[in-house]
């Protein structure tokens, strides 16, 4: 019997087929001119003036410059597009003198009129800005005094204004481009003044930036005058399971939100470096709904807080990379007060509190009842940041306590807001980032945009308002925020879990990786790729 021609033929054709597919599959990594950066969330829109996602800032903070920049080390504000500024004694007037040598990526000049056009775009109610519009306090008017000087007038003092003006959400866009494209299309044709130009964005697929060769007005916080990497391509990895694999296979050079176990493994294996970035702002937390039974009862909220072993949860889900959160602000945020730690894990105390509140397991089925009603809890968890895992552990802890707990995962910020609007939750996970603690107002003040606790307390409102109005005294503001933390803890308004630490992992070719004061945003201009 001669050799099987079919078998040989089969193998040969199979191998030929595989080889034929190889060239069709795109470029292999390793070219020094392109940096591949992985993003982990697909925002519904990527115009920073209109959308609230932190993820969009990762690419776009290199497309825009802001009037001022914040030094990541000292927290001080340094000149950006504005060379100098003066603030009136009553805190109601800010005058910015702008640089004269700045041009937008489309060639038009940056001037005071551009500043006004941008702020008007943000404040236009028809544009529905989700974040930037709320960062300007009680801004009354924006008036160019001359071609390169602009005055901002406020109705009341607003301490966080400089901080707001240092963020990408108030980055300066070309008025011509804003005008030409309008609020829904502009996100695909963004024009700024930054070290990188916006090339294109295909939703859920990729976003491309290219070096701006004319960039000559970088702030002092940038280590380099201009960018060295020619192109940066951002691709999306919403699925946690694929991020480490993307790094290992070379699909991306750097990506954030790596799981702790994967980060440890990647570093040990060699070829990768971990950059843990501690993010200021609110920690990963769950707000209690004080308007819905059973969490409308303070004792129940306190019992639920004490029934949770927070260090254990953080250890299980986040490994050794994340500190346990102890209040409404993460430990690296201005205004964090170490003097008001949260109650530790104490199961007997929690049980005692529940029974004192009347919740007892009368029929031995494992769930407590009161007046015939079972102790039922509904948790809404967003789908980012390992929230679903934390929610599952909370569910397990409270089921052991005798509650019947259901968890709903909201797929995205929009879905989260939609679920919240339905009102059928006892806990909801939400948190915002930022360097200025005034961000607490949107969640804790009764008129805040995200006042999802339903808790109304004039004392809390006044404290928060005063803290945002006092312009220059950080010590006084800190004392006020300590008071806020104390009220939050004593009224059990929220359950803090962990400080956000973004685990960014990059391969060893990536050098010079630094992040802005906000924590999330890499300073792309300072990056270099080793050959």
């Amino acid at each position: 019997m001669r050799a099987h021609p079919t078998r040989t033929a089969a193998f040969v054709s199979l191998w030929a087929f595989l080889m034929a597919l190889l060239p069709a599959c795109g470029q292999a990594p390793g070219q020094t001119e392109t940096l591949r950066y992985g993003l982990t969330l697909v925002p519904t829109g990527i115009d920073p003036h209109l959308n609230a996602s932190a993820e969009l800032g990762i690419p776009l903070s290199s497309v825009y410059d802001t009037l001022v920049f914040q030094d990541p080390g000292t927290g001080a504000f340094v000149p950006g597009l504005a060379e100098r500024w003066t603030i009136s004694d009553d805190g109601l007037s800010y005058i910015f003198e702008l640089r004269r040598d700045v041009t937008f990526h489309d060639g038009s000049r940056f001037d005071a009129a551009a500043v006004r056009a941008n702020l008007e775009y943000v404040l236009d109610p028809d544009n529905h800005s989700q974040k930037a519009a709320f960062m300007l306090g009680s801004l009354e008017s924006v008036e160019p005094i001359d071609e390169y000087t602009v005055q901002l007038r406020l109705r009341e003092p607003y301490a966080p204004l400089l901080d707001s003006l240092s963020q990408v959400y108030l980055g300066m866009a070309s008025p011509a481009a804003l005008q030409e494209w309008g609020s829904s299309e502009y996100q695909f044709h963004q024009v700024g003044t930054g070290p990188y130009r916006f090339v294109e964005y295909v939703p859920n697929d990729h976003l491309t930036l290219e070096r701006n060769p004319d960039y000559a007005w970088g702030p002092s916080i940038y280590a380099s005058d201009r960018a060295s990497i020619q192109r940066v391509v951002f691709t999306f990895y919403e699925d946690r399971a694929t991020r480490a694999i993307a790094l290992e296979s070379g699909e991306v050079d750097v990506i954030g939100e790596i799981q702790p176990r994967d980060a440890a493994r990647l570093e040990q294996g060699g070829g990768f470096v971990t950059y843990p970035v501690h993010i200021p702002g609110q920690p990963l937390q769950y707000l209690f709904n004080t308007q819905r039974a059973p969490t409308d009862d303070l004792r129940v909220r306190q019992a639920l807080t004490q029934a949770v072993d927070r260090p254990e949860i953080v250890e299980t889900v986040f490994g050794a990379y994340s500190p346990v959160a102890e209040g409404p602000l993460s430990t690296v945020t201005l205004g964090f007060d170490p003097g008001t730690p949260y109650p530790p894990y104490d199961l007997p105390a929690a049980v005692a509190l529940l029974e004192e509140a009347g919740w007892v397991d009368t029929d031995g089925d494992g769930t407590r009842e009161r007046g015939g009603q079972p102790l039922g809890l509904h948790i809404i968890a967003p789908n980012w940041g390992s929230n679903p895992e934390v929610a599952q552990l909370l569910q397990a802890a409270w089921q052991a306590l005798g509650a019947s707990v259901t968890v709903e995962v909201a797929a995205g910020f929009g879905a989260l807001k939609e679920s919240q609007a339905a009102g059928e939750y006892n806990l909801i996970g939400v948190n915002f980032f930022g360097t200025d603690p005034d961000l607490l107002r949107s969640t804790l003040s009764s008129d805040g945009l995200y006042a999802w606790t339903g808790y109304r307390d004039s004392r809390l409102d006044e404290t928060l308002l005063e803290a945002s109005g006092t312009t220059l005294d950080p010590v006084h503001r800190s004392a006020l925020y300590a008071e806020v933390a104390r009220i939050t803890r004593d009224q059990a308004l929220l359950l803090p879990i962990r400080d956000y630490v973004n685990l960014v992992v990059a391969n060893t070719r990536v050098q010079g990786l630094r992040f802005s004061s906000q924590g999330w945003f890499p300073l792309l201009v300072d990056l270099r790729l080793a050959p």
Partner: protein, 319 residues
């Protein structure tokens, strides 16, 4: 009556027309089922917009009116149909972008995966089926037959994960990055095509076995066609038509397969788009993707029928 020589059989053309009309009817049925299936649950499609503060109540009312959501269901259905004919699939509720554009952005990735998967299925199916029928009693033949049966039973979710695991553990670190391209498309295509390869393989095996035992092949042998590849080709030809129709049908099933494959390998594409739209409640996008998929499925069916008609004169029917 014997038809006049030189004219095509009268049955062929009418069969073709009937098939096309039937196809149109099926296509209409598909998009109708899509429209009503989506509205099985009660709920306001605009609840999400209002909840997000993307529109004030007055603007939501205006939007509701402009989208025609305040009209009775039959009227909405009619405008959906006319919109479909115009190529207007509406706008995403969350991003406001035209659905057609959103789909267009994801289509190339899914097409690439689907086409490669189909290639794997056809090549694999032919190889498995031929081996199983031609070398029936040898180990190779029996293994091929078992492999085909096994392949149909394995869900893509599992084979995908095994593939990733095998690939990552066998080639980790530097080797993995040099075979980057392989992982990017070939592996998902392989995984996707395996299940269809099994189905195609079984049909090829059945047809080829029958053909090899038929008088037609015995006659070829008697004419002196040597055993081996030439005889195989002789035997394969009549076995092809059912396989080809199956291939056309599998092409449509591949779309369902891409949904899972894209999830397993986290590839961008219509599958991930659909799942995301379902989880977020973005009805226009979900509706658009499924309607297009159903239309494609119908087209494949029509194509399958036409190919069978073309390949096998016996199916053309009487006049």
């Amino acid at each position: 009556m014997v038809p006049a020589p030189g004219r095509p059989a009268p049955g062929a053309l009418s069969a073709l027309i009937i098939r096309c009309l039937h196809g149109l009817l099926t296509a209409w049925a598909a998009v109708t089922v899509t429209f009503f299936g989506l509205r099985v649950g009660a709920g306001d499609p605009l609840a999400g917009i209002l909840a997000q503060g993307l529109a004030s109540p007055q603007q939501a009312e205006a939007l509701r009116h402009s989208l025609g959501l305040d009209r009775p269901l039959p009227a909405q259905y009619l405008s959906f149909l006319t919109g479909l004919l115009r190529g207007d699939l509406g706008r995403s509720l969350y991003t406001g972008l035209p659905v057609l554009r959103v789909i267009g952005g994801q289509l190339p990735s899914t097409l690439a995966l689907g086409a490669s998967g189909l290639l794997v299925a056809v090549v694999g199916g032919l190889a498995l089926g031929t081996l199983a029928a031609w070398r029936k009693r040898s180990l190779w033949g029996r293994s091929a037959a078992s492999a085909a049966a096994l392949a149909t039973a394995l869900p893509v979710s599992f084979t995908g994960i095994v593939a990733i695991l095998a690939f990552s553990t066998l080639l980790s670190g530097r080797a993995a990055s040099s075979l980057y391209a392989l992982r990017h498309l070939a592996l998902p295509a392989l995984v996707l095509g395996i299940a269809s390869a099994g189905a195609i393989g079984r049909v090829v095996e059945a047809g080829l076995s029958q053909s090899l035992a038929s008088p037609y092949v015995a006659a070829a042998r008697a004419r002196g066609v040597p055993s081996g590849l030439r005889l195989l080709w002789h035997a394969l030809r009549p076995a092809l038509p059912p396989a080809v129709s199956l291939i056309a049908l599998e092409a449509a099933y591949l779309f369902s397969g891409t949904v899972v494959t894209e999830t397993v390998f986290s590839r961008p594409g219509l599958g991930r788009l659909l799942i995301g739209a379902i989880l977020q409640g973005d009805y226009p996008v979900a509706q658009g993707v499924v309607a297009l998929a159903a239309l494609f499925y119908t087209l494949s069916h029509i194509l399958a029928d036409l190919v069978s008609l073309g390949l096998d004169p016996r199916l053309r029917g009487k006049g």
